[in-house]
């Protein structure tokens, strides 16, 4: 029986190597050691920890953690590993490692695949559910926070704000909660809606408009963002996305993390396109419900498109693919029966806003 082997032993007191004879008894799960032909003692397999370097086996006893038993024998090394395995003394990490690189990689690729699937198909509905659970006071808090910061850097146009409020009061924007309207002085062609119902319109976008229908379209679009809580859904979606990404890349290097980060950002952009489409369609419905010409939405897009030749305004950059959106509007308009009523009041308020 070749369970007896010559080994090297460091006693944990001195760095001098000592000669040892080791007998592995795999029935009693014991190591019998004889050191330097004199001292004999027994190590129990359950107390042992080991490192394998090729054939070389380094064994340590958790009760005398400094002592090292070093054995260089392929056969013994395998025998020892089998005995330790039988004894359940091998941790999950070592077990996985011993599957070999190709199997480990295969497991990793499968798991990654599952996560990617979950990221695209499981995460969005969960994020929406989470958003639904958040109270509306949260929307208000977030909106107020943002608005406070925004107003520190921008000036309100009080006259135009008053007219815009009157204009909006003439419309049914299908809102469940009160909306607030503010015009700020800015050369930027932009408008946005905050989750607290605050709709901010930049003065430059108003100057470019030719008809009141466009303004109704703009308000309809922004009001729909509020009605459908797009910002909060987006926030939940992004948070969940970032959590997934940081979980996956917690122990991997920077390059991959950067790639993943960008992929996540792109994905959230396409997600926001989904929201834009919803806001377009709901905005269009608001136009029709208010008996305003739905082509106002198309005209609004055209205005914004023209503007983008000069410089890219934010409303377009975050709302890309204008042509696609326009085609979508045309399609819905042609398929729907709608009624248009001339509206002198809206028109006259619009004139005030323009001037």
């Amino acid at each position: 029986m070749k369970n007896t082997i010559d080994a090297k032993y460091y006693d944990g007191q001195s760095s001098a190597p000592l000669k040892a004879i080791v007998v592995l008894n795999d029935r009693t799960n014991e190591f019998h050691l004889q050191i330097a032909g004199e001292i004999s003692f027994v190590w129990l397999l359950k107390d042992l920890q080991f490192e394998q370097y090729g054939h070389i086996l380094e064994v340590r006893n958790t009760n005398y953690s400094d002592a090292i038993l070093k054995i260089d024998d392929k056969y013994f090394s395998e025998k020892f590993y089998a005995a330790m395995k039988q004894n359940n003394s091998i941790d999950i990490h070592t077990r996985l490692l011993n599957l070999g690189l190709s199997k480990i990689t295969a497991i990793a690729v499968c798991l990654l695949g599952l996560i990617v699937l979950a990221y695209f198909y499981v995460l969005p509905p969960i994020a929406e559910k989470t958003a639904a659970l958040l109270p509306e006071s949260f929307d208000n808090e977030i909106g107020n926070l943002f608005m406070d910061a925004f107003l520190r850097k921008n000036n309100i146009d009080t006259t135009k704000t008053k007219y815009l409020e009157q204009f909006a009061a003439e419309l049914d924007l299908k809102n469940r909660n009160p909306l607030r309207f503010t015009v700020v002085k800015s050369k930027e062609v932009n408008a946005f809606a905050l989750p607290n119902g605050q709709i901010v319109v930049f003065s430059a976008i108003l100057e470019n408009m030719e008809s009141f229908e466009e303004l109704v379209a703009l308000l309809g679009h922004e009001a729909s963002h509020v009605n459908y809580r797009h910002s909060i859904k987006m926030l939940c979606r992004n948070l969940a996305g970032y959590m997934t990404v940081s979980l996956i890349f917690s122990d991997v290097n920077g390059v991959m993390a950067l790639l993943a980060d960008n992929a996540q950002r792109l994905h959230s952009l396409s997600y926001s396109r989904g929201f834009e489409q919803e806001a377009d369609e709901q905005g269009l419905e608001i136009l029709m419900n208010n008996k305003v010409d739905p082509n106002g939405m198309v005209k609004l897009f055209e205005q914004l498109e023209k503007e983008s030749n000069i410089y890219i305004p934010k409303i377009i950059s975050s709302h890309p693919l204008t042509k696609e959106r326009k085609d979508n509007m045309h399609k819905i308009i042609s398929e729907t029966v709608y009624e248009i009523k001339s509206n002198d009041k809206l028109n006259s308020i619009f004139e005030y806003i323009k001037n």
Binding site: A16, E51, Y53, S65, D66, H93, L96, I107, A108, M256
Partner: protein, 323 residues
């Protein structure tokens, strides 16, 4: 007779460093770490770190005997929890100052000070833990620095750095290095370091300007000078016996190492980093030469056991690199 003895013990010894780590093995460890970290929602991280360190240490050999990292995930996990608690405590105090006491400036000042003040504690704890868990031939390393001493010194040096508009930072760095290194023990072998801020400042000024003049090419030679400065200043003594370290790395060597590492990492979208890391380790140990007469068969255990991983995790948490 006495003459013979001295001659005998003063004989030059051979010290031969080798690094056996293989990219494929290291990569396998990283993948398993990743798998386990993922399925435990990140909780496995300290254990993963222990596995990684254990591999790197175990693949480093001096005269054919390997180093050993005895740190465990459990120890590092405890340290990690302490760090989180520290972080939470700081954040709560910050919020109280900001929202209740309503002193925003003081709150921000407090935040900076708190994270700044942890640095010397982290350095101390990190050295203490890392050294105590490192062993070679069953003999432990140890760190005997005094925490209060390094904290006081650290703030003194930081103060000098501020009043000299940053110039003193060269001394700050080298003083910390000197203080920590001279408190390292390997059994009854004592470490020391001869680095000084003036040399370090000149070395870096020269490296900086030559790198600009040569459009970056000199950076590899600068890197090799930094490496040489780190290594050449290391000494070990045991009674009358000593070891002097020196670097054999060249600028060309660094050029090859870093360019190839960059290509490996970039062309594999980062997956090749395991191989690049192993090349770096091998390069380091291939280029450290030790000369002297300490007999490494005659070292005696002197250091106590120590298992607090607070500093280790603090360094990792705030991503401070221990060079």
């Amino acid at each position: 007779m006495e003459n013979l003895m001295t001659q005998n013990t003063n004989q030059k010894k051979n010290y031969d460093f080798e690094f056996f780590g293989k990219g494929s093995e290291y990569f396998a460890i990283m993948i398993v770490n990743w798998l386990l970290t993922l399925v435990t929602l990140g909780l496995y991280y300290p254990w993963a770190r222990a596995k990684r360190l254990r591999y790197v240490y175990g693949q480093t050999a001096l005269n054919n005997e390997r180093f050993h990292f005895a740190g465990t995930g459990k120890e590092m996990f405890r340290g990690f929890i302490k760090i989180i608690l520290f972080y939470i405590a700081v954040m709560i105090s910050y919020m109280v100052l900001l929202k209740v006491v309503k002193l925003p400036l003081l709150a921000i000042l407090f935040l900076y000070l708190a994270f700044f003040a942890i640095i010397p504690f982290a350095i101390h704890g990190s050295f203490r833990y890392r050294m105590s868990r490192t062993s070679y031939r069953g003999i432990r390393f140890g760190y005997r620095g005094n925490r209060n001493e390094i904290v006081k010194k650290f703030f003194k040096w930081v103060f000098f750095t501020i009043i000299t508009f940053g110039i003193y930072s060269a001394w700050l760095q080298m003083n910390i290095r000197k203080y920590t290194h001279q408190n390292i023990r390997y059994g009854d072998v004592e470490f020391s370091n001869n680095a000084n801020g003036g040399d370090w400042l000149l070395l870096n000024l020269k490296g900086y300007f030559l790198t600009i003049i040569t459009l970056g090419i000199y950076s590899f030679w600068w890197q090799s000078e930094i490496f040489a400065y780190y290594i050449d200043n290391m000494r070990m003594t045991k009674g009358e016996q000593r070891i002097k370290c020196s670097s054999t790395a060249t600028g060309g060597g660094f050029f090859e190492l870093l360019i190839v590492n960059f290509l490996i990492t970039a062309f594999t979208l980062g997956f090749g980093k395991a191989w690049a890391d192993m090349r770096t380790q091998k390069f380091i140990f291939d280029n450290v030469k030790m000369e002297g007469d300490i007999n490494i068969d005659e070292i005696h255990q002197t250091e106590d056991e120590y298992t607090n991983a607070f500093g280790e995790d603090a360094m990792d948490f705030f991503e401070i690199d221990l060079a």
